[in-house]
């Protein structure tokens, strides 16, 4: 423990040292006196030889120190004193940094939680989503999930693969739960065997669904989510073994999943087994999401190759019924595109988050530039102090490190305050985040975020401390000692640093403003798009499902729906009502199939294009405000008469028959073996998949259809969205009346997804509005900081040039000339910054192309407007100091000398 002893005996040690050195000096002086010098001369000579006494002591003491940590401590103490002595500067600098760091830490915590952290499953890096495309299948591009898996594909893949530990398919759905209080619509995940094994999260109570629960027509079982368990059963462990009535059928509860467990990115209430009937499966039925866990060491490329190998096996093992050619799918060119599950979860939000992170980073740079400017000014006023320190023997390095420690401390304090802001910021982000922001519940400030905040605190401290430290700790110190405090004019060099900072700030602010401007233009373009419905605010939608177990008979289902429609229409204030498979942008999976157009020749062995189906009731389009382009809407007589009639979207009509008018009376079918259906109406194009996506081609069926997906009896559509128009849409009293109306028809029907179309629309453009808000905030901060930066520099220059301006005025310069001189200086800086910024923005804007809609990344209008705005703001910032310059009193200015 020698070092410990040293640490404590150090005070004595250092005392000894100075005594000793003092004695040495004395001895030396005496010796010199002995040679005949006067005592005064001898002292001077001895001291000269000794050099800098305190430096010598310091060097000697240094030996006992651990590196230069103690120097840093001393600097920290000194820095604290300096920061405390100048509270205004400290507070302004601190706040600037705190806001910058707070914003950065908040955004980083989102980026970290959403993009960087592994998913919440054990060994999540092994998890993949079995994504596939089929470039040969015309029309498939309309489906955002690519080609999903069919049950037969699942069996082939699960049994024949060589690269997966486990594999399964699942599909999100909804169902009604009755028997517990009010009937309730729940979110349901239907899973095959292998899904829970793949995700590998142990149940919180009971057991997983297993292979024995996957028997068709076997005992029906169900698992609960933690949230549902808590909500409905108060976390009662005895719930295992009890029955839950789902879609009017009792299911035995076998287990509860733990808190925080989600399916990929879907929240759910209950999990039920899919229980495929193997004997009845065909090739088709591509409606299931596949997930799998790779064997350790297996790569995605190997897994893709494995699937490619199994596709022919699949086609050989199953068929689409007698007489069909199983190898017809070869023309689809089905291609596996397995991707990490994480990528599936994150989806397209990663671009948004990185762009936001980048812009917030730029704001931080601008903030740093401002603080650098502050520090430059302050260091200038401290020149005398620095010069004194240098004269007393402080080395250049010591002074630099002292200044750096001070600025790093400023950064760190800013970081601490900033973290407080970040906590608030994260809440704010989560609140305004896109409604579909994945992993929202996982967002938190964790160790990595803290580390990040610490890192940028230190880095920004170094960044804004370095410029002044290098500039003023130099050898000119001795010169400053003499001249500080007198009104020498500031050297060109000092101006240059400050001017450069301002130019940089303007350039960065321009980049941010351009990005925000592009988002505004995008938003405008989105709003200009006709989504296919009108006055969304007054359009109420409600989803109601009628399970087969509640009402089995087809026509009774449709009649019940029609009755509900009548009751809804009878509510005071309801102007029109209808129902359909879904409203645009609701995001429920619609049906789809191949469509043959009568009279069109299809090459043998090639399937015709795939098209969306949507079932709609009479009055649906009128209620939604979707225009009829040609022909007429469906009638109830046609529905109940099971007449083979359809309506089509305008783009489909144009593609198949040239004009909408031409389409009326023409016929189409899903299968040449089935009866043709006659086109009776052409409907305006609808942005089914969102405003940014091009309108899909849609075939509209009646709500009850014969021979759907192959020959068969009449089938109703059981899951529908009711849509009705009223000025009271969305109000609580109105919704109560809606509930009563529905329950007056059948009290077992839960109402789900109750919202206005405005909410649906808002969710659809959430990504854009989130980006807009974030970039808006970032660029507003940039603009404000830039304004302050320019103002600070110009007003500082004016105060430095007071004398010169006074002389000019005394010599007869007009005050207008003085103003324009100052404005010219600011304008020059702003212009230079704008030029650099335009070039940078031109290069960087391309990065956000994928976020834009209806506007190019190089939109000249945005660039011009932003440049003009910035120059105006810069001139405004210069105008205030310019006016002050104008008012300079020549007498006062000259008296300075």
């Amino acid at each position: 423990m020698n070092w410990l002893k040293q640490l404590f005996s150090r005070r004595r040690l250092f005392g000894d040292l100075s005594d000793e050195i003092g004695q040495h000096l004395e001895e030396k002086i005496e010796e010199l006196v002995a040679t005949g010098m006067s005592r005064k001369e001898a002292t001077a000579a001895a001291r000269r030889e000794f050099g800098n006494l305190s430096l010598l002591e310091e060097d000697s003491r240094e030996v006992w120190r651990w590196m230069s940590i103690e120097n840093v401590f001393a600097d920290v103490r000194y820095g604290l004193r300096m920061l405390g002595r100048n509270p205004v500067f400290t507070v302004v600098g601190l706040l600037t940094i705190a806001i910058g760091i707070g914003a950065n830490a908040a955004v980083f915590s989102v980026v970290n939680s959403v993009l960087l952290k592994p998913l919440n499953y054990p060994k999540a890096e092994e998890l993949v989503s079995l994504h596939q495309t089929a470039p040969g299948a015309a029309g498939l591009a309309d489906f955002e999930n690519g080609l999903l898996l069919s049950p037969s594909m699942y069996f082939t893949y699960a049994e024949q693969n060589r690269t997966f530990q486990s594999l399964g398919v699942w599909v999100p759905d909804s169902a009604s739960v009755t028997g517990l209080a009010e009937p309730e619509q729940v979110r349901l995940a239907a899973v095959s065997d292998g899904v829970l094994q793949t995700l590998d999260v142990a149940p919180a109570a009971g057991r997983w669904l297993s292979q024995m629960d996957q028997v068709p027509r076997g005992p029906e079982r169900v698992m609960l989510s933690y949230g549902y368990w808590q909500r409905q059963f108060g976390q009662d462990r005895n719930v295992i073994g009890r029955n839950l009535t789902i879609d009017s059928r009792p299911r035995e509860i076998v287990g509860v999943m733990p808190q925080g467990f989600r399916f990929v990115d879907t929240d759910f209430d209950v999990i039920v087994p899919l229980a495929f009937d193997r004997g009845k499966l065909i090739l088709a039925g591509f409606g299931y999401h596949g997930i799998a866990r790779l064997k350790p060491g297996a790569t995605i490329a190997e897994a893709n190759a494995d699937i490619t190998r199994m596709l022919p096996i699949w086609m050989d093992s199953w068929s689409n019924g007698r007489g069909s050619n199983p190898h017809i799918y070869e023309t689809w060119k089905i291609t596996p595109m397995i991707r990490p599950l994480k990528q599936e979860v994150i989806g397209n939000v990663s671009e948004v988050l990185w762009v936001v992170m980048g812009t917030i980073g730029l704001v931080m740079l601008i903030a740093c530039a401002n603080v650098t400017n502050l520090l430059l000014v302050r260091v200038e006023s401290r020149q005398q102090e620095l010069a004194v320190r240098a004269a007393l023997g402080a080395g250049r390095q010591r002074i630099i490190s002292g200044l750096l420690v001070e600025s790093v401390m400023l950064g760190l304090f800013g970081g601490i305050v900033g973290l407080g802001l970040a906590y608030a910021g994260v809440r704010f982000l989560a609140a305004i985040g896109p409604a579909n922001l994945p992993r929202l519940s996982e967002i938190s400030i964790d160790a990595r975020t803290l580390g990040f905040a610490f890192l940028i605190s230190v880095l920004s401290g170094l960044l804004f401390g370095l410029v002044p430290a290098l500039k003023y700790a130099g050898p000119r110190a001795s010169l400053e000692l003499r001249s500080a405090g007198r009104t020498i004019s500031v050297s060109r060099e000092q101006h240059r640093a400050r001017n450069l900072l301002v130019v940089g700030q303007v350039a960065m602010a321009l980049v941010l403003l351009v990005s925000a401007g592009l988002m505004i233009r995008t938003f405008e373009a989105l709003r200009a798009v006709d989504p296919g419905f009108t006055d969304a605010r007054h359009l109420q939608v409600v989803r109601i499902s009628i399970p087969g177990s509640l009402i089995a008979e087809a026509e009774r289902v449709t009649r019940t729906q029609s009755q509900i429609l009548d009751k809804l229409s009878a509510i005071p204030g309801v102007k029109s009502a209808g129902f359909g498979g879904e409203m645009p942008m609701e995001g429920f999976d619609s049906g789809w199939d191949t469509i043959f157009i009568e009279g069109k020749i299809y090459p043998k062995g090639v399937l015709p294009p795939l098209h969306f189906y949507k079932h709609v009731s009479p009055g649906f389009f009128a209620a939604a405000g979707t225009r009829l382009i040609a022909g007429r809407e469906l009638t109830w007589d046609e529905v109940y008469g099971l007449r083979s009639v359809v309506m089509v979207s305008e783009n489909l009509a144009r593609e198949a028959w040239g004009t909408p008018a031409n389409a009326i009376g023409k016929r189409l079918t899903e299968d040449p073996g089935l009866p043709w259906r006659e086109v009776i109406g052409v409907i305006q194009d609808v942005r089914e998949k969102g405003v940014q996506e091009k309108a899909t081609e849609i075939v509209y069926w009646p709500p009850m259809v014969e021979n759907l997906y192959g020959r068969g009896p009449a089938q109703p559509i059981r899951d529908v969205t009711f849509v009705f128009r009223s000025d009271r849409a969305g109000t609580q009293s109105f919704l109560n009346e809606v509930r009563q109306a529905v329950w007056s028809v059948n009290s077992n029907l839960p109402l789900a997804s109750v919202r206005t179309m405005q909410e649906v629309y808002g969710k659809s453009v959430a990504r854009t509005s989130f980006t807009l808000v974030m970039l808006g905030i970032a660029s507003a901060m940039a603009l404000a900081l830039g304004l302050i930066g320019i103002y600070g520099v110009i007003s500082y220059t004016v105060s430095q040039r007071k004398r010169e301006i006074g002389i000019r005025l005394a010599l007869g310069a007009q005050s207008g000339e003085v103003v324009s001189m100052v404005l010219r200086q600011g304008a020059k800086l702003a212009l230079l910054g704008v030029c650099i910024g335009v070039v940078a923005a031109f290069a960087l804007a391309r990065l956000m192309t994928s976020l834009l809609f209806g506007v190019t990344a190089h939109d000249p209008l945005t660039f011009a407007a932003v440049a003009a705005l910035l120059i105006l703001v810069a001139l405004f910032a210069c105008y205030i100091p310019a006016r002050r310059a104008m008012k300079v009193d020549p007498i006062v200015a000259l008296r300075y000398e």
Binding site: D16, E20, Q23, H24, G51, D59, W64
Partner: protein, 113 residues
């Protein structure tokens, strides 16, 4: 400036000379400077600026120890003594130094012929 002459010394040379001097007899700082100056016929100027840091290094490594005492000129001074560790260290240093010197000499001699 102040350290220019020591810069020509290789690292450790000053410490070696201090240890060698102290091996003969314990001395205080001023006497050490005088002694080295005298022995080297004024060829080597030891500056206080490097002497004290060097002494502190030796103290820290327990190669020397210091005690307050009275000098011949009747002053209260700190007298440095070699420790056993210091003596061993000196031996090692000297032998390695001699090896190095011999090596250098040989190379220089070869270069001349």
């Amino acid at each position: 400036m102040k350290k220019s002459e020591q810069r020509d010394l290789f690292p450790g040379a000053l410490e070696m000379m201090i240890l060698r001097t102290l091996k003969r007899q314990p001395l205080h700082g001023y006497a050490l400077v005088q002694h080295i100056k005298r022995i080297s016929d004024d060829l080597l100027q030891i500056e206080e600026g490097s002497l004290y840091p060097a002494l502190q290094r030796l103290l820290k490594e327990d190669l020397v120890k210091a005690e307050w005492g009275i000098s011949v000129t009747n002053r209260r001074v700190r007298i440095y003594k070699l420790t056993t560790a210091g003596a061993k260290h000196l031996e090692r240093e000297v032998s390695s130094f001699e090896k190095m010197l011999e090596g250098i000499t040989r190379v220089l001699a070869r270069g001349e012929s």
